[in-house]
């Protein structure tokens, strides 16, 4: 499984990456593999404020609906509308085209507190 070094990770299996002054959020390769083929993504409205660990969106497989929690507090500045017609993008390319939202107004201190790729790999290995 792939865990890009430029991303930071949460124990709930989300990743974040800086994109100019915004922060891109998605779910990890591990998360998509656990969820299975996604058939629906309930994206948040642009402008919505989210708290740390607040529900950012809901991703659904044929079997179940799962919440995606926001790794950091911020405001939804953009959302990936390509996921509406093809949620499977998240399964195929979770770190690139499968991004979910871009957040603005995120605190750098909060970002610094997230896990590195190495730390996240250790968590998955049960370490």
């Amino acid at each position: 499984m792939e865990f890009p070094n430029e991303c930071k990770y949460t124990k709930d299996h989300e990743w974040v990456r800086m994109d100019g002054d915004k922060v891109i959020v998605g779910i990890t390769e591990f998360a998509q593999s656990e969820l299975g083929d996604l058939v629906f993504v309930d994206l948040p409205q642009v402008g919505k404020s989210v708290a740390t660990h607040g529900t950012l969106c809901v991703v659904e497989s044929t079997k179940a609906a799962s919440d995606v929690y926001s790794p950091v507090a911020g405001t939804v500045a953009e959302r990936n509308d390509a996921l509406v017609d093809d949620p499977g993008i998240i399964n195929r390319t979770p770190y690139t085209d499968g991004w979910i939202v871009k957040l603005s107004g995120v605190s750098e201190a909060e970002l610094a507190g997230l896990m590195s790729a190495e730390e996240y790999k250790k968590l998955l290995a049960g370490g």
Partner: protein, 363 residues
């Protein structure tokens, strides 16, 4: 937790194992969508060894089943099977089953994994005759081969029978790899196919043979995820969703297998009364007209917000490619095209009643 004879096969194929009805079962291998599509377009294999097998035998076997199941057992003949149900006195569904007549004194019942022990106890307790009832679940493995190419895959592997002439809901006792099997032209996917009962210790050999011979046909091993999305498109009920002990068989849409014109059977009186009084709720199909997926337990309301029902099963399925499901709704709101509201995580989503099934194969 229990393992089927194919557990090690699932692990070596990369199957993702989940707990289901006390069994460790694969929910998927390559992916639910790919597996679902394989069954609709080519052929898929399912491990259904967790299903229960109960033998009812002896001179009074037919009489016993006539009383304890709702379909007309006397209409069966050797080599013929039918879909039926074990009902309770209130007409609720203890389990939905398939009854196979091997001979007038020898019947096999296939029951749901989650209900196998309960069914065996129920049948033993309510048996009105001296018929012998044996729970043989642990002696059998079972593999479902489903899809338009299923018969092409299985027919050449069988000795002692010609599957090409085997009709729907008929079965034959024959051999594969020199071991006795029962091959039934039945399934739970809405596609053509067979279900094969095999000795537990021969199940893995049969599984590998089917995978090997099916490679050129594009066979895929399929998990419980695809099994559920396939059965839902075909509107085949699942016990615990559309069927339950506290929901009458008529409300669940099983009226076609409840034979009031046969002799007495458990549940008959209650269902006759209900039929005469009229059903207060019915199982209907629905599509969502807005983005979202309604799932079991989500409430159904009128456009004004009055509660009229509850979702039994729902998802977005690969072949129909729509958010759909089945729900119990009060009879006045059950007509085709009736507009409904589905309440999903507190949000109202528009939907409407549609004809079942959602998917029907072209013959």
């Amino acid at each position: 937790m229990k393992k089927t004879p194919l557990y090690d096969e699932h692990l070596s194929l990369g199957g993702k194992i989940v707990e289901f009805a006390g069994w460790q079962m694969p929910v998927q291998y390559s992916g639910v969508v790919a597996e679902h599509v394989a069954v609709r377009e080519r052929v898929g294999l399912f491990d259904v060894s967790h299903m229960g097998e109960i033998w009812v035998t002896g001179p009074n076997a037919e009489k016993a089943l006539e009383f304890m199941t709702c379909n007309n057992v006397t209409s069966l003949y050797d080599g013929k099977a039918h879909y039926s149900a074990i009902l309770n006195e209130r007409g609720g569904v203890v389990d939905d089953i398939i009854v196979y007549r091997c001979s007038k004194e020898r019947f096999l019942i296939c029951v749901n994994a989650s209900n196998a022990d309960k069914d065996f106890e129920w049948l033993t307790k309510h048996n009105p005759t001296d018929a012998t009832i044996v729970n043989a679940s642990s002696e059998y493995g079972q593999i479902a081969v489903q899809g338009p190419k299923a018969l092409e895959l299985v027919t050449p592997l069988v000795t002692g029978a010609d599957l090409s002439t085997l009709k729907y809901f008929h079965f034959v006792e024959c051999e594969i790899l020199g071991s006795p099997v029962i091959v039934a032209r039945t399934g739970y996917t809405g596609e053509d196919g067979v279900e094969i009962f095999v000795q537990a210790d021969k199940t893995a050999d049969l599984w590998r043979l089917l995978l090997e011979h099916g490679a050129t046909l594009g066979v895929l091993p399929c998990g419980l995820g695809a099994r559920d999305s396939l059965r839902l498109e075909a509107a085949l009920p699942l016990h615990g969703h559309e069927l339950a002990e506290d929901i009458s068989a008529l409300e669940s849409g099983l009226g076609w297998i409840v034979k009031f014109d046969k002799g007495n059977f458990i549940g008959k009186e209650a269902l006759l009364k209900q039929k005469e009084a009229g059903l207060s709720k019915r199982l209907v199909g629905f599509h969502l007209d807005e983005a979202g997926i309604a799932r079991q337990g989500d409430l159904v309301t009128t456009l004004d917000g009055a509660q009229i029902g509850v979702v039994a099963s729902g998802t977005k399925t690969p072949t129909v490619n729509k958010a759909l499901g089945m729900a119990f709704v009060e009879t006045p709101h059950s007509a085709l095209d009736t507009k409904l509201t589905l309440v999903v995580r507190g949000r109202a989503i528009a939907g409407h009643v549609v004809q079942l099934p959602f998917y029907k194969r072209s013959k």
